[in-house]
Symmetry: C2
Subunit: 450 residues, 2 copies
């Protein structure tokens, strides 16, 4: 194993010497993600120089490996000829993803320099929503006219090894004169029929999806059918492209990843290679909402200053009750989000979810309340202080898991994004409830506490 720092230095040397063969020799044996990581660590200027020096083949590999927003940055920093050359090496759906992330002017400039057929495919694909069959499909299809024979198909497979690789998941599709999908030929039929047989004789009716089919719909379809790819048709029944099982699985994983980021307050799939303005701005937008919610929650404390002044120890426990309730609630949010993504719950199941959560809340609330109550009692030697803090903790845990379990379902029913909104809503309500419980109980029992 070479130490990474050495590879980085060797890369810099090769870039400075404009030695594309050496760059290729250094990067090609690495896993693509590792090659990409090294390029990112070079910093923008050296990286741009590297992209000028490397073979367009190798650049295309790195662009394909990068998340599309990063790929768009890479392409955007190249001159348009180079950008077009690199993009031409990629599959149409990757092209469309990258072009989709660029601003319109830059995208048009690059498209104008690309192979005309590729550019037309990209423009067509870019019209579809990213999370539909149209947005996920490849424009390259393994298709034949009805009059073609088994021999035609076999010859095409034999002649065009490189393209055939891209078609691996596809069966031959049969189109009528208007380009409408009329049949699909199984591999078995191909293998067991005579070469002169017209495809029309061996094809079977196709299962196809509309270009507007959603990601969830595609997931269900691939669950139902064992096939590796499904043909995508436009409104007129014409074959528009092919969506593979792999593309759907990957899109589902990306959606889940981006949801998990939103739950942590990272909106818009940030990467550290993005400009500071974007990274800081997006995070701040989410934080600003949170700070306003925090101020609202803290106003509950402000209303009880007299109670705190009388029993200063309470100030020690306020952040603890609020933080622990937040933790309990977030656990419930996590489980609901998982069950939502597995399709195991729906908004109509809110009551059932609540019943499950409240039982957990009761057990864990009592446990946590007992623990924190004992700590308060022992620390200040006042059992009533322990009772106030412990009771507030127990009740607030039950509130937190109820809200955490149910709020994502309600947000979903309201058409809101449960991933981004559940957390802030949860913490605001549990903070307010926690502060109120501790402080109002303490006010009630003031004679015993002070």
């Amino acid at each position: 194993m070479t130490v990474p720092r050495d590879i980085a230095d060797a890369l810099r040397d090769a870039i400075e010497a404009k030695d594309d063969a050496r760059l290729d020799a250094l990067l090609d044996p690495l896993p693509p993600s590792e090659a990409l990581r090294l390029m990112l660590n070079l910093g923008p200027e050296v990286r741009e120089e590297a992209f000028r020096v490397m073979t367009s083949d190798l650049v295309a590999e790195l662009v394909e490996e990068a998340p599309s927003e990063l790929a768009a940055d890479f392409i955007g920093a190249m001159d348009v000829e180079r950008a077009a050359e690199v993009l031409d090496e990629l599959a149409s759906y990757v092209q469309a993803d990258v072009i989709g992330e660029m601003n319109t002017a830059a995208a048009d400039a690059v498209l104008a320099k690309m192979d005309a057929e590729n550019a037309a495919d990209v423009r067509r694909l870019a019209e579809y929503d990213e999370e539909t069959a149209g947005g996920l499909m490849s424009a390259e299809t393994f298709s034949f006219p009805e009059a073609a024979t088994v021999r035609t198909v076999i010859q095409r497979m034999a002649d065009d090894e490189d393209r055939f690789d891209r078609y691996r998941a596809q069966n031959p599709y049969v189109l009528d004169d208007a380009g409408r999908l009329v049949g699909v030929v199984s591999l078995r039929a191909l293998l067991s029929s005579r070469r002169a047989t017209p495809l029309a004789e061996v094809m079977i009716p196709p299962i196809s999806v509309s270009a507007q089919e959603t990601l969830d719909g595609l997931e269900d379809l691939f669950d139902e059918h064992r096939c590796l790819a499904l043909p995508v048709c436009d409104a007129d029944g014409r074959l528009a492209g092919v969506v593979t099982r792999a593309a759907v699985t990957e899109a589902l994983a990306e959606r889940a990843e981006s949801e998990s980021l939103r739950r942590q307050g990272v909106i818009g799939d940030e990467l550290r290679s993005m400009p500071l303005r974007i990274r800081s701005g997006r995070r701040l937008a989410w934080l600003s909402i949170n700070i306003v919610l925090n101020i609202i929650a803290a106003s509950v404390i402000a209303a009880y200053e007299a109670t705190i002044a009388a029993v200063i120890a309470i100030a020690v426990f306020l952040p603890m009750v609020s933080d622990m309730s937040g933790c309990s609630g977030n656990q419930a949010v996590g489980v609901t989000m998982r069950e939502l993504s597995l399709g195991l719950v729906r908004p109509v199941d809110a009551f059932r979810v609540w019943l499950k959560e409240i039982s957990v809340g009761l057990v864990n609330g009592l446990a946590l309340g007992l623990l924190i109550g004992l700590v308060a009692w022992i620390w200040k030697g006042n059992p009533w202080l322990g009772l106030v803090i412990g009771t507030a903790m127990a009740i607030n845990t039950m509130i937190a898991v109820s809200i955490g379990g149910v709020v994502p379902l309600l947000l979903k029913r309201l058409g809101q994004d449960p991933a981004a909104a559940s957390g802030p809503l949860l913490t605001t309500i549990t903070d307010m409830a926690g502060f109120f419980l501790v402080l109002s109980l303490a006010t009630l029992m003031m004679p015993l506490l002070a």
Copy 2:
């Protein structure tokens, strides 16, 4: 569209009438996840009865759709004959997953009733770690002896349509007499060679993986090669199974999902159908660690009771500073976890990550500090209070993003789980730092505040 409640009632009726045809008619047209959701909502007793009534085919579909811990519950609740019958319908890697989740005694009882060949496959697969090629592979392989001809392969494809579906992603593998993998036949070779050609003449050297290959290694391999499946060999070079691209993508998605749950304090992939004891116990284990950390953090406040007693308003801002810093830090954790999973950063990049984070922390810290400082100033009419709170907020935001960005990398280097441990570590340190900053600054400037 039928209203879900009606389907649920119809299901109950069909189960009570032990009408398997009606159950089949109700569930079969639904997406598998929806059928599973309905079964979960029936409650354990009715569901167990349903599994006795349904065709084993339909039960197998539901078991396949369920996450493996849930599938194991389903199977565990059936009598062993039924369980064996259902499992026999599934692919070997699903069998192994489900059996792997059951306790040893129950698993052995079911395996004893299963088809002997299936049971042997399962025992073999269950020996491998779940996140290795061995744990992800299917035992069913599309393999032939060297002496076989192209005709043999084509006939096997034509004869055995059902099994062939399972082999869709595989090329024919060629084995020597000892079962060692010696070659692979491309579809193109199959199509363009004469039927009498021995496979030994058309095969090419295989790319294979060891059964111990890790999930990350498999991801890299499938990134590099366009193939849909890779043969898996044991230490002696014998073909042990086949791992598909789809199985790897799915395992990666599951790993990411389970990581995202751990980040929210849900250890062990909880589902609400699990018993209360498990759900509550696992969550409580994580909460207990957190409450201890919280007590440690709160001890900082306890040390400054005199300061709070003098300026009660500070008690209002303590939870706010701690909560907002937690939010900022969690954003940084989220981005680092994403970049780790994309392979864009490694522990050696900690310093570079910190540089990126501290710039965001500076901008966002100033913005948040200014905002909260103004609120404090206006509320109490004391600019110095605003200065104390705002400064503490700004500095603590920088601390939080630094820790949030870097801690997952350090945990990774130490071989710890960054997903589960980053959050608690982060909030403890930022809470302590936040409380300390607010309270020590306030103590310093006491004459101006009180």
